[in-house]
Amino acid sequence: MSDVDGPADPPSGPADALGALGGESESYTLTVNGRSASVPAGWLGESLLWVLRERLGLPGSKNACEEGECGSCSVFLDGLLVCACCVLAADAVDAGIVTVEGLAGEDELSDVQHSFVDSGAVQCGFCTPGLVIAVHDLLDRNPDPTELEVREAISGNLCRCTGYGRILEAVRVVRRERAGA
């Protein structure tokens, strides 16, 4: 809601001072949401989550724990659901990365995204990008999951606001819609 926003252009890393950290990387290229994105030289220890958020201007993937416990940073890496906080960015150079920003076309929402809005599955929204990715992953693999399978599939995504009730409802709606389509 604020008028301060993420960087419009990839900011360059503060390369000069990074020598202090050791382990400096060459610049490298990631493929994110179908586009090549060049990552300027930086610290080699940077996670994929950090690079997406801070260097590539894609802050949609969230950072609730940065240790693989909450799922808020979920992205697809060559179609596989991963926690971007647990992947080194430099390790993802040859992979196709899809983030929440790339799930639907410009100014469009995917069916899962629509359903989250319509079902009341969004409160603060911090868990939402990760959950939307996790639900896409589930329904693409298993179009007709049982309630228990849904709960298992999203049990790696913590949400503190909703108690999951409306999120489960959002998944039910998409499952029904896809079955009817």
Binding site: M1, S2, G60, C70
Partner: protein, 778 residues
């Protein structure tokens, strides 16, 4: 939610526009939140921005002999290092008392207390610079026992007892035929919002600063930041940025002063973002508590008297402790008629982490105690526990132990009946093994699983109490949009923290003005305060302010129309000209104008301040009309327990909740489900584990919150009895789900195991080690 039934008939106001009050309108921020474009405070970024980082004390209690920042300052990429010596204004901040140092100076009083802060070009450099700061501590023996703290040497110049609240009501010598007694304990719960603390401070050219921040109350943050920076409030401007949940933890200042100080020091934008570990150390928690209770009743089951001693651990600094103990004490008897009461509530300083606001705010702790007592009493009397509650349930016209007579609604019987009416879940026999206690670990065996059912009822106040001047400000502007349609713009400083206030604000305007398009300006301090997004108060308070501003806009518009069209609106004739469903009509004549026609090319804007009815302070006996209104909820929990392993699965929580009126039923349902999740968490898993004053589990690896697999089915009934005096009759819904759900779950586990279980969260050993040993669980 299974069903939504109303016990009162509430007309839904529907006009030409949809999405008004009573509709399940969609959130205006829903789309940006699902596609990743919504800017949380942690997503902010500015040109030439530095990263701030805090150095925190590893000790719960120590004297600081020296702080040497020279080595840190010399690290390449470090731009500034600040300590207590660099704070230009008031050295302390605080919500109710300015008692907490911005940076510890001579002593540290809790594990995690800030000692210094660094700004650097990269967060990793900032982290390493913090490690390079040399602090020479002389460790002291920490004061950790809140009971001992009452009489111990003070750990703070303001003393250890932050507040002792004494309630004497009725005949203090009264006694009953039956008495039951017990002592109960609650561990320290964390709010564990998902979006970590973060903010971006941008210095201006004139010595002032703009802070973009996730918080619950912009104006109290501003006032504290300005005081600590030694600046007039006009030079500190705050704008709310996306808030990733709050639940009370963002009511206190965390990084606000630090990040502004670094920005002013460096002359560059500075961003601070806590890691999860730092978040656990850097915000207040729910007060742990120890509660002793004795209840007296007649042989027929009428409550006669409650005696209680409640001791809450406030940790090192006061935060909102005084108000928390007021709630715990005022509501210590529960939502029951209790003619006589002797309650002593204490909240004290210790060298544990500071505690403050968390959803339910004192009412949660009391409820865990009095509801355990109600079950004990039912057992002693040989009556059904739910019947005992119904027999003693408060009703309008009854008085509380503070002597306050309930003038508004109090559907206690109704919420109990509603919770009880939900069908119980089916027997465990056919359940897949992963749904047994222990879950996917498949550790429980079917034969050892016992089912239990428990019941609890809770209540608390809405909005601020004890004579506090509680108000909210909002402005509404009505104008013609570029498309020729009317558009309304709402401005307020109220914090949207996830609860859906932004939706409600739009709904109120749609209903009041009949305008479909309602734009929300970012919340900031350029308008008057809206008060905090806490105490379940914003639907009432900011809802009321937006409604009042709409009415003021209508009034201005109607005067304009009257002047332009020669309509007589003096005295009672004023009633003849109305705005309804987006039209201005004259009841007697044939004047009918669209809003755009009525505006006649000139926008109308009005600012309104809304106050709820005044409350009064409590007298020395804890008597007074301290609260404006009360909300009630009942919960029935069903659990399966493997007694041998001490594992619990919560299957279902059924609830009836007094909502006054559901302004947005889907959002209300979301509040109920989310609040119950936090109540279940406190019952069976959530605790900030303290070890000799140090936090041992500051991560989501070790501090467990319910996942989708832990979360029970929720069956909810909204009990709608419009509250007189509340805008639209709505009472606020955020906290009641959290108050008695914890007590209900524990009651269910007691029912399954026969153990007394006096402490939450229940740990496996409380059950497994007690079983067969003759112990009663802890």
């Amino acid at each position: 939610m299974r069903s939504s039934t109303g016990t009162g008939t509430v007309p839904r106001e529907r006009g030409r526009v949809t999405g008004g009050v009573g509709d399940s309108a969609r959130r205006p921020d829903g789309a940006p939140k699902v596609d990743g474009s919504f800017a949380f405070s942690s997503d902010l970024w500015a040109d030439d921005m530095l990263w701030g980082r805090t150095l925190r004390s590893p000790h719960p209690s120590a004297r600081i002999r020296s702080v040497d920042v020279e080595r840190a300052r010399r690290i390449d990429g470090v731009v500034a290092v600040v300590t207590a010596d660099d704070v230009p204004g008031s050295p302390c901040f605080g919500l109710e008392h300015r008692d907490q140092p911005v940076f510890a100076h001579d002593v540290v009083r809790f594990h995690g207390e800030p000692v210094a802060a660094v700004a650097a070009v990269h967060p990793e450099i900032a982290a390493r610079a913090c490690e390079a700061i040399e602090v020479d501590y002389a460790e002291l023996d920490p004061l950790l026992d809140p009971e001992a703290a009452i009489d111990a040497d003070p750990i703070h110049p303001d003393g250890n007892v932050v507040r002792h609240l004494r309630i004497r009501h009725g005949d203090v010598d009264a006694g009953g035929d039956v008495t039951v007694e017990g002592t109960y304990e609650l561990g320290m719960q964390d709010q564990a919002f998902m979006g970590p603390e973060s903010g971006l401070a941008i210095p201006d050219d004139a010595g002032g600063v703009d802070l973009y921040i996730s918080t619950q109350w912009l104006h109290v943050d501003r006032d504290q930041v300005a005081a600590c920076l030694g600046l007039p409030t006009e030079q500190v401007r705050l704008t709310l940025s996306g808030v990733g949940g709050a639940f009370g933890a963002r009511e206190d200042v965390s990084l606000q002063v630090h990040v502004c100080l670094l920005a002013l020091r460096t002359g560059r934008p500075v961003k601070m973002l806590y890691s999860r570990e730092e978040s656990f150390l850097g915000h207040v928690h729910r007060h742990p508590g120890r509660l002793w209770y004795r209840h007296h009743a007649t042989a027929d089951g009428d409550l006669v008297k409650v005696e209680a001693r409640i001791v809450l651990d406030g940790g090192a600094y006061a935060s909102s402790s005084s108000a928390v103990i007021a709630n715990a004490s005022c509501f210590a008897a529960g939502p029951y008629r209790m003619p006589n009461a002797t309650v002593d509530g204490y909240v004290v300083r210790t060298n544990n982490p500071p505690c403050g606001a968390m959803r339910g705010f004192g009412a949660v702790q009391a409820c865990f105690g009095y509801e355990a007592q109600m079950d004990k009493l039912a057992a002693a009397l040989g009556v059904d526990p739910v019947e005992l509650r119904l027999r003693n349930a408060l009703a309008p016209g009854d008085s509380l132990i503070t002597g306050q007579v309930i003038r508004g609604t109090a559907p206690v019987r109704e919420v109990i009946e509603a919770a009880r009416a939900h069908p119980l879940p089916p027997d465990p026999d056919g359940r897949p093994e992963v749904l047994l206690p222990g879950g996917t670990g498949l550790t429980a065996s079917r034969g050892d699983v016992r089912r239990g059912v428990g019941f609890a009822v809770g209540f608390k106040n809405v909005a601020y109490s004890e004579g506090f001047d509680d108000y909210a400000t909002a402005s509404v502007r009505l104008e013609e949009g570029v498309d020729g349609e009317p558009v309304a713009t709402v401005h307020s400083a109220a914090a949207e923290v996830g609860q859906g206030l932004v939706t409600l604000a739009q709904q109120v305007v749609r209903t009041e003005l009949g305008v479909e398009r309602v734009i929300l300006r970012p919340a900031d301090t350029s308008i008057g305060s809206a008060g905090s997004s806490s105490a379940s108060r914003q639907a009432w308070m900011t809802g009321g302010a937006v409604q009042a501003a709409c009415n003021a806009v209508k009034e201005t518009l109607l005067r304009r129309v009257a002047g332009a069209h020669g309509v007589d609106v003096e005295g009672a004739r004023r009633q003849l000209l109305v705005v309804r469903d987006g039209w201005v009509t004259h009841v007697e004549g044939d004047l009918r104008l669209s809003l755009v026609e009525a505006l006649d090319g000139r926008p109308v804007e009005q600012v309104s301040v809304y106050r709820h009815a005044p409350t009064t302070p409590l007298d020395p006996d804890g008597q007074g009309d301290a609260h404006v209104a009360f909300v009630f909820a009942a919960h029935r929990a069903v659990v399966d327990v493997d007694q041998e392993l001490g594992l619990i699965r919560v299957l279902q929580v059924a609830t009836g909740q007094d909502v006054g009126r559901a302004l947005n039923p889907v959002q209300v349902t979301g509040q109920i489900e989310g609040g119950i999740a936090q109540g279940v968490g406190l019952a069976v898993m959530e605790e900030v584990v303290m070890d000799d004053g140090r936090v041992r589990n500051a991560s989501f690896v070790d501090y467990l919150i319910p996942t989708a697999l832990d979360m029970p089915e929720v069956a909810a009934t909204l009990v709608e009895q419009p509250e007189p005096g509340a805008p639209f009759g709505a009472k606020g819904v955020g906290e009641p789900p959290t108050i008695s759900s914890t007590a209900a779950v524990v009651a269910a586990v007691r029912d399954a195991t026969g153990l007394e279980l006096r402490r939450v969260p229940i740990r496996p050993e409380h059950i497994a080690l007690a079983a067969g040993s003759g112990a009663d669980g802890t």
